[in-house]
Symmetry: C2
Subunit: 197 residues, 2 copies
């Protein structure tokens, strides 16, 4: 941020009186501009035969890797509404949103993932500008070595473990360490497990 | 938002190609500025005798009403770290942060509350610029008619109900309706219950 979004003059990084962190403060009108973590809402859409809907990313970052539908939460919606919207946008699938089953903090990118269970209301799904492929997969078909983000990896593990045990638990997790560069190249299991250390 | 924070020129509200919502887009450099919901992190700090630490708000909004420590999550922290930081800032108390026990969506103000259990590591607490009083309270001493926000009301109810049942459950709640003006004047039980309708 270089300019004040209220008046267009330049901002400087300074700690306002009574505050504890440097903020972007307008040198002309005095407006303090805060920056806050972003919420990513997602859904594991389940079809009636137990398969879940996965998407191959058609956009960066992590183009070509796999995820369930997820994206930035918008103003004025709940996490469940956002998860259903993202599912429709990324896969063309309608879901009935279920419970929030995981919250994952990712402080190194200032993000929080909020993941819901979801039940597909029809078998309809298709590629979209954000997904080059959309595929219903059994658990053994999940491409664990080609998952786009550690949050998605852990979310899927929570989902399938709960289902195997016949429970609907809630899981929270802090991913405090970014994967090392060498490990990030394949998004493989080894690097991902380190994230939860 | 009237001006681009990247180049200082004026922005216009328009829907970018491939997007589904109007965004603030810079007419000069083309930067798209997104606005997203904010996360509020909070903690119910419990002392060893079972009392919990409540604060009387010294600042607007809801000045003079009661809350547990909570505030906007900062960049680069987890929800638990943020909850501990807010507890220190608002009450001077140190807490060992426990599990995330509630997530409350408040779409009409584009906020999500993430509430943690917390254990005070000493009996120390004191008024701060944000809290005119800080008081350890038994459940029967909570001023239910003078609670600052519906999220705080529901968070406390979840906390005490769990404790009474000897469990540490997780709760999620969507507050879809803003209290009516007449009810907001006293932040009373009646208005708050309507929030969860």
């Amino acid at each position: 941020m270089k300019f004040c979004s209220t008046c267009g003059q330049s901002v400087e990084l300074t700690t306002p009186a009574g505050d504890h962190l440097p903020r972007h403060v307008c040198s002309a009108c005095g407006t303090v501009h805060y920056h806050n973590p972003k919420v990513i809402v997602g859904c594991v859409p389940e079809w009636e035969d137990g398969r879940v809907l996965m998407c191959k990313r058609a956009i960066e970052p992590r183009l070509g890797l796999w995820t369930f539908p997820a994206g930035f939460m918008e103003m004025g919606e709940t996490s469940g509404e956002g998860a259903a919207r993202e599912t429709m946008e990324e896969t063309g699938a309608s879901v009935e949103i279920g419970d929030l089953f995981a919250v994952i903090n990712v402080p190194y990118v200032s993000q929080i993932y909020m993941l819901h269970r979801g039940r597909m209301t029809s078998a309809r799904h298709h590629p979209t500008p954000e997904s080059s492929e959309t595929v219903l997969m059994h658990e053994h078909e999940i491409p664990w070595e080609k998952i786009a983000f550690p949050t998605v990896y852990h979310g899927l593990k929570f989902f399938f473990e709960d289902r195997k045990r016949g429970v609907k638990d809630f899981h929270s997790l802090d991913l405090n360490f970014r994967r090392k560069t060498a490990q990030r190249s394949d998004a493989g299991l080894e690097g991902l497990v380190n994230d939860s250390a």
